[in-house]
Amino acid sequence: MIVFGILALVLIASAVFTVTAQKPVYSVVGLLANFIALAAMYLTLQAEFLAVMQIVVYSGAILILFVFVIALLSSGTRPFEVGPDKAPRILIPALAIAVLTLAGLTVTALHTPITVVSTATTNGTTGDANAFGSVANFGAALFTTNLLPFEVTAFILMVAVIGVVLIAGDATPGAVEGRRKKRRPGVREPIVKALRQAQDDNG
């Protein structure tokens, strides 16, 4: 109970800090605290593997990506500027939508009957090899019952990689001062050429 209270406070405070921070770098720091507190909360919910994945994927991969993009965007002579926030103009409708979302979620959550099953009697305690939420337990569920969704996951990641290379892999000429002068043939050219060819063929 005490642990839940502390973690909930950290989660909410860091989320508010993330949303209200003036600079994206501060937001990243707030998000890091949020992710770590959430991983600890997963541990209290007996989701050991997910706690590890939370740290590895979110804090290790996604946040580093954010930091690199911030560094890339502000790599010029001065840090990049952001216009004034939309908050003064649309604060009231935004708050209305958000409060409605919150009310709907809370009402739904509190009106869903839940019968809590104690894992202590049925599945052993946390830390046992085959207890609920352990790596073995999770792996068995992932690779037997849910094998097809797991394989679709691989497809999603492949699509993401190809999409990122297509979107950001090719530099537009003269984009940033100091960029290379001569344009190398990028990944996009052959595809664009093939598309134009197909268009011409179709008339």
Partner: protein, 101 residues
């Protein structure tokens, strides 16, 4: 004393609320993307809480898939941000209106 699943779900709703405010009210695309990550995390917390309540680890598998989709979304979103704002030092999502009819 154990914490009821309702507390976890209520906390998840509060986190979702904060994320929605961030997406709607902020103008910096990076902070908007981070708010979307907050939304994913709130949903994940609810999934894991219900999985614990029913002792059914399908919720864990679902949360795992959500983490994967969040990674893909962050990669593509950040690629779009870098491509769009590489030209100018001014970052403002309201100025991206090239697709407006």
């Amino acid at each position: 004393m154990t914490v009821s699943p309702e507390s976890y779900v209520a906390l998840s709703a509060v986190l979702f609320f904060i994320g929605v405010v961030g997406v709607i009210a902020r103008r910096n695309p990076l902070i908007m993307l981070m708010s979307i990550e907050l939304l994913f995390n709130a949903a994940n917390l609810a999934l894991v809480a219900y999985a614990r309540a029913w002792v059914n680890n399908t919720g864990h598998v679902f949360a795992f898939l959500v983490i994967t989709v969040a990674a893909a979304e962050a990669a593509i979103g950040l690629a779009i941000v870098t491509m769009t704002f590489r030209r100018s030092a001014h970052v403002d999502v309201d100025e991206v209106s090239a697709l407006r009819g």
